[in-house]
C-alpha cells in the first residue's frame, strides 16, 4: 500500500497543512453508556478517562481569548462528563456555536432526562448516531434495545422543537455502515431515512450525515477477525478521491483529548498520534499562530477520509 503521505506528495501536497481553526473539537472522555461495535475509541461504561474541571476551564479560556466560532463536543458520551453542562453554559454565554455528538440513549439515563430542554435552552446543535433506520441492524451494532430507545429519545427531541422549522435547533443524524463497506450516497439515503422515520415513527430531523468506519479501534478488530482488513484497506486506497483533500476536517479543526493534549483529529487521538513535534502539544499552550497553518500528522488511516466522496464529522467532503 502506498503510504498516505506519499500519495498526497504525488498529488502536489508535499506536506498537508491546516488552513484555519474554525472548530475546536473537545473529547470530554471515553466513558459511554454504550459499547458500540464500530467505536474507534473503544469507549464504554467502564472507561475511566474524563476531562477534568481545570482542563475545561482552559477550553473556555481559549475559546474566549481566540474567539473560536464553533466547539464540537464529543466522547464517549460527552454528557456523562460531570462538567458538560457547566461547559455548555459558559460557551453559550460567549456566543459560541455549540455542537454535541449525542448517542441518543443517554437522554434516557437516570438524571439525564432534562437534557432535551437543556440542549434547547442553549441552542446546542445535535449530531445523533443512528446508523440505520431499522431495528435489527442498529441493535446489532449498538446493543440490544438501542433502536427503540433511540426512537424514544428522538421523539423527546422533536417534542421540544428539535428537527422542526427553528433553524437554531438542528437535529442531524449520523449514519455509518454496519460492516466492511463504504457509506451510500448521502442525499439518496437521507431521502429514505426521512420517509421511513416519518412514516413509521413520526420522527423528523434536518440532515443525514454519512461517516465511513475508520479502520481503527473496535472496527479494526472486527476487520482483522473477519479477515476483511486487507480488502477494506484496498478499497479505501483505490477509492482515493483528490477532490476530498481541500475539505479534510483536519485543515479547519483541532481536537482536544480528555487529558488536554492536542491532536489533528479524533482518529489520531484514538491512535495516540499527537501533533507533530515542535508544535504546541496541550490546550494550555494553545497558540493559533502556530496551529492554524500547522502541518498535519498523517497515517494510512487517513485514506478513510479521502475514499469515495470523502468522510468527516460533518459528512461527505466532495460532490458526486
Amino acid at each position: 500500500m502506498l503510504p498516505f503521505a506519499r500519495k498526497l506528495e504525488d498529488l502536489g501536497y508535499p506536506d498537508l497543512k491546516a488552513d484555519r481553526i474554525n472548530i475546536l473539537q473537545v473529547n470530554l472522555g471515553w466513558r459511554c453508556n454504550q459499547a458500540c461495535k464500530h467505536c474507534h475509541l473503544l469507549a464504554g461504561p467502564q472507561r475511566p478517562e474524563q476531562m477534568a474541571r481545570d482542563t475545561i476551564e482552559e477550553i473556555i479560556r481559549v475559546v474566549k481569548r481566540w474567539s473560536i466560532p464553533t466547539v464540537d463536543l464529543t466522547g464517549g458520551a460527552p454528557e456523562l462528563n460531570p462538567h458538560y453542562e457547566y461547559l455548555v453554559e459558559r460557551l453559550d454565554q460567549l456566543g459560541t456555536h455549540i455542537l454535541t455528538r449525542c448517542n441518543l440513549t443517554i437522554l434516557l439515563e437516570p438524571g439525564k432526562e432534562h437534557l432535551p430542554e437543556f440542549f434547547r435552552d442553549h441552542r446546542v446543535e445535535l449530531v445523533c448516531s443512528l446508523p440505520y433506520y431499522q431495528e435489527d441492524l442498529v441493535d446489532r451494532l449498538r446493543g440490544a434495545g438501542v433502536f427503540q430507545k433511540s426512537l424514544d429519545a428522538l421523539r423527546r427531541l422533536n417534542r421540544v422543537g428539535y428537527g422542526e422549522a427553528d433553524p437554531d435547533l438542528k437535529l442531524n443524524l449520523m449514519y455509518n455502515p454496519a460492516g466492511a463497506y463504504l457509506p451510500p450516497e448521502e442525499a439518496a439515503l437521507e431521502a429514505v431515512y426521512r420517509r421511513e422515520l416519518a412514516e413509521r415513527h413520526q420522527i423528523r430531523f434536518h440532515r443525514l450525515l454519512t461517516l465511513l468506519n475508520m479502520p481503527i479501534g473496535r472496527f479494526k478488530e472486527f476487520l482483522e477477525r473477519s479477515k476483511n482488513y486487507e480488502r477494506y484497506m484496498g478499497k479505501l486506497v483505490s477509492g482515493f478521491n483528490p477532490a476530498t483533500v481541500a475539505g479534510l476536517m483536519c485543515r479547519s479543526l483541532i481536537s482536544v483529548a480528555w487529558d488536554g493534549r492536542l491532536f489533528d483529529c479524533d482518529f489520531n487521538q484514538a491512535l495516540d498520534l499527537p501533533l507533530l513535534p515542535g508544535l504546541p502539544q496541550t490546550i494550555r499552550e494553545f497558540d493559533p499562530e502556530a496551529l492554524a497553518t500547522r502541518p498535519i500528522r498523517l497515517g494510512d488511516h487517513c485514506y478513510g477520509c479521502t475514499a469515495g466522496l470523502g468522510s468527516s464529522c460533518g459528512g461527505k467532503l466532495a460532490e458526486g
Binding site: 457509506p183 450516497e185 477532490a243
Partner: protein, 154 residues
Amino acid sequence: MARTTSTVIPFARIGRQAQNRQEHNSPVGEGLLMNRRIAGPGEKMSHYYEEDDLERFPEIGKYRPDLYDIFMNYYQGVMSAGALTTREKALIALAVAHAVQCPYCIDAYTRGSLEAGSNLEEMTEAIHVAAAIRGGATLVHGIQVHNAAAKITM
C-alpha cells in the same frame, strides 16, 4: 470519466482498484492478485470459482482491450443513477445475479446493495422476484408441453 457518486459499480471499481495496486506495487494488491496461485498445465484447480478471481476481472482486457473498454464504459453508464436510483439498480443486479447464478455477481452486488443503503429485507425480496420469475418461466413453458402433446395425441 468523472468519478461517480455511485458505490454500485463493483466490476468497474474492481478494475480501477486492481490497476491502482499494480501501479503502486501494493502489498494489498500482491495479496489479492499475486499470491493467488494459478493452476499450472496438467494441474487440477481446487475450485472453479475462486473469490479472488473477481479482482482479476481486468485481465479480460488483456486481449481486445478495445472491446473491454467499450464494455466498461457501457457498464458504468448503465449502472450510474438515471431514471432509476443506484439503490434500485443494485437490487435489480442482485436479482439478475441470482437468476444467472453468478457467484462473483452475488458477491459484488451484495456489497453494492449495502453500499447503496439497502438492507437484507429488500435484498431478500429482490431474490424472491428472481425466484418467482424463474419459477413462473418454468411453469409457463408447461403450455409448450400441452401444445406439443396436443399435436401428437389423438
